[in-house]
Symmetry: C2
């Protein structure tokens, strides 16, 4: 079936109305829609409007507070722990990142660990908030356990993404946004829909053996950490996912490891949860806390140009800079619209009807 194309404006209007309908303030609804749809614009379709009904169901299950009081639990000049009051991560995260940026303005850098939040969309949206302030932005979050550490049969980590956004001068910013797994879950879903096999090193089955069955995850298997297996460095992907988990949750007082609340509202909550909600971690570093921003940008441009002009293995496959593909898609989709799969359109029509919102 063909995808259907929507303008950004259409999806934005609908998403804002939907978030208002569950009780978000006008301001929070607009912010949440902006954050959610940044994923669709940048081509991370798995984290965008396709998840809107999932957020609504979390609210219906009483797991999301649509009108949270986001507060600072503890702070120092360069740090804070923020309590998201069970709010939408789409709202909690940009507010926490704002605090990191304000602290960086004051003392050079700002670092904020967040407890009691929910899924926050794409990591890049929050890290990139730093760019217009001539700061480096860092964003990470834990997520419910789908990933098996090296040698583990059990799933103990989420796909735990890291984003680092670095400003440049004349060149576009460097924006690396990556799950700490070999492949993100969204890519696996694409293979499932196409009924194709997964490459080796992406997943293991319920016994902990590597498999190419794209459906293994649903049958008790697990995603693999970046590297795939020990010989190919999976202990490094495991360590990266663990660092994200600890910075986001052990530092803030959120849930970690196998206790992170699941996104689907029908999945029961883990038992014996040691913290509150999901955790995030944000950082902002003022460039001129290190060297004049103009010097830095000049050298970032030089860095980017040198890497972009590297001799490539094939003429039609150039060496690219992290963030290039998402930026190209963002421009293209802002101009030509956002394609949604039929299943996503149906899902949106269903919540539209339920909440009497035109779609």
């Amino acid at each position: 079936m063909e995808s259907q194309i929507f303008t950004y404006g259409q999806l934005n209007e609908f998403t804002i109305k939907m978030f208002r309908a569950i009780g978000c303030s006008d301001e929070d609804a607009a912010l949440a829609a902006d954050v959610l749809l940044s994923a669709d614009l940048r081509g991370v379709d798995s984290h965008g409007i396709a998840r809107l009904s999932g957020y609504v169901r979390l609210w219906e299950a009483g797991r999301v507070n649509a009108d949270p009081e986001i507060s600072i639990v503890h702070e120092t000049p360069s740090t804070a722990v923020v309590d998201g009051d069970s709010g939408l991560g789409l709202v909690v995260a940009p507010n926490a990142m704002k605090i990191a940026i304000e602290k960086a303005r004051q003392v050079g850098t700002g670092w904020v660990s967040v407890q009691n939040s929910n899924h926050y969309g794409i990591a890049a949206r929050h890290a990139m908030m730093a760019l217009e302030h001539d700061m480096i932005g860092i964003s990470m979050t834990n997520a419910s356990a789908l990933v098996a550490p090296t040698f583990s049969v059990e799933r103990l980590l989420g796909t735990n993404p890291i984003c680092v956004a670095i400003p440049a001068g004349e060149e576009p910013a460097f924006v690396a946004d990556m799950a700490t797994t070999t492949a993100a879950n969204g890519k696996l879903e694409i293979l499932q829909r196409k009924k194709e096999a997964a490459p080796e090193g992406w997943i293991q089955d319920a016994s902990g053996t590597g498999t190419t069955d794209a459906h293994a995850l649903k049958n008790g298997g697990a995603l693999l950490p970046l590297g795939g297996d020990r010989e190919h460095g999976s202990h490094k992907g495991y360590a990266l996912g663990a660092i994200v988990d600890i910075f986001s949750a052990v530092l803030s007082g959120a849930n970690y490891g196998p206790w992170v609340p699941p996104f689907p509202a029908y999945v029961p909550m883990p038992t014996g949860m040691p913290g509150k909600g999901i955790g995030h971690f944000f950082g902002a570093m003022r460039i001129d806390a290190f060297r004049p921003a103009s010097d830095f940008k000049h050298h970032m441009d030089n860095w980017i140009r040198r890497f972009r002009s590297a001799k490539s293995i094939k003429e039609d496959v150039p060496v690219i800079i992290p963030g290039d593909p998402e930026r190209f898609l963002e421009k293209e989709r802002a101009e030509n619209g956002i394609p949604l799969l039929p299943a996503v359109v149906e899902d949106l029509q269903s919540i539209a009807k339920r909440f009497s919102i035109p779609f």
Copy 2:
């Protein structure tokens, strides 16, 4: 040929004398020896005393200043840029990390980017300085280009390691120390000595094609970023190596990308170098800048125990915590001595003779 066993004390005494012989102060010689030999203790043999003659040759070539004036070029309450004055990285790095720790004491976190340094030994040694202060320690460095970014034939990045050291309570600390490549160069050297093939995903040949020839690196090939190829996430390893390069060098004013000075003194310096020496980046985050240290440690212990007790794929291959293997080796080697390969012993005998130091 059999390895020869030396006590830590023997190697320490010799290394201190050697560093004194090239003009280091007593204090710097002791510090440099301690840092260098921490690699041998922790089993990272490629970065320990096996490199001592390499450091000496860098000094002979005028590329290392044995008596540097390490200074702060610019600072804010939470940041600093440090100029290593071409000193041994083994001395510059712990001094820069000390500044990060002092800033964390004052304002919660400290972040130091370093220019004009040289190779700094293992990343873990510096990050772990934070542990006794109940702080999280972060350490990274760039290095001369041996790694090809995804789709690149050219080598543009070093193996650019990242270490994150996180204190726990009753459990030993979490210490993840990793090159941002699939495999570190040291592992390749072991295969070369054994005349064995390398696993797929470790290296590419001079045309940019993946190869299992462990000697490909010497023949114009390159190490591959963590992930190996695009399908297995090498663009993530490339991004991680790039972030290390930018934090260490573009932020500090050191050389980056293909312009990082090589370790072997006989390799000519790159032309058109945009900065000074090699770059490092250090961070320290006070735990109680986020939450009480005792709470954090309690939850870190819980995190570690849950992961360590995970059901593993084979009974004799348990799930481990980053830092476990190095800690076991450190204990074992402190007790039973450090094995050195015959080639390393000969090399040390040769510099011992040249500088009239008993070995």
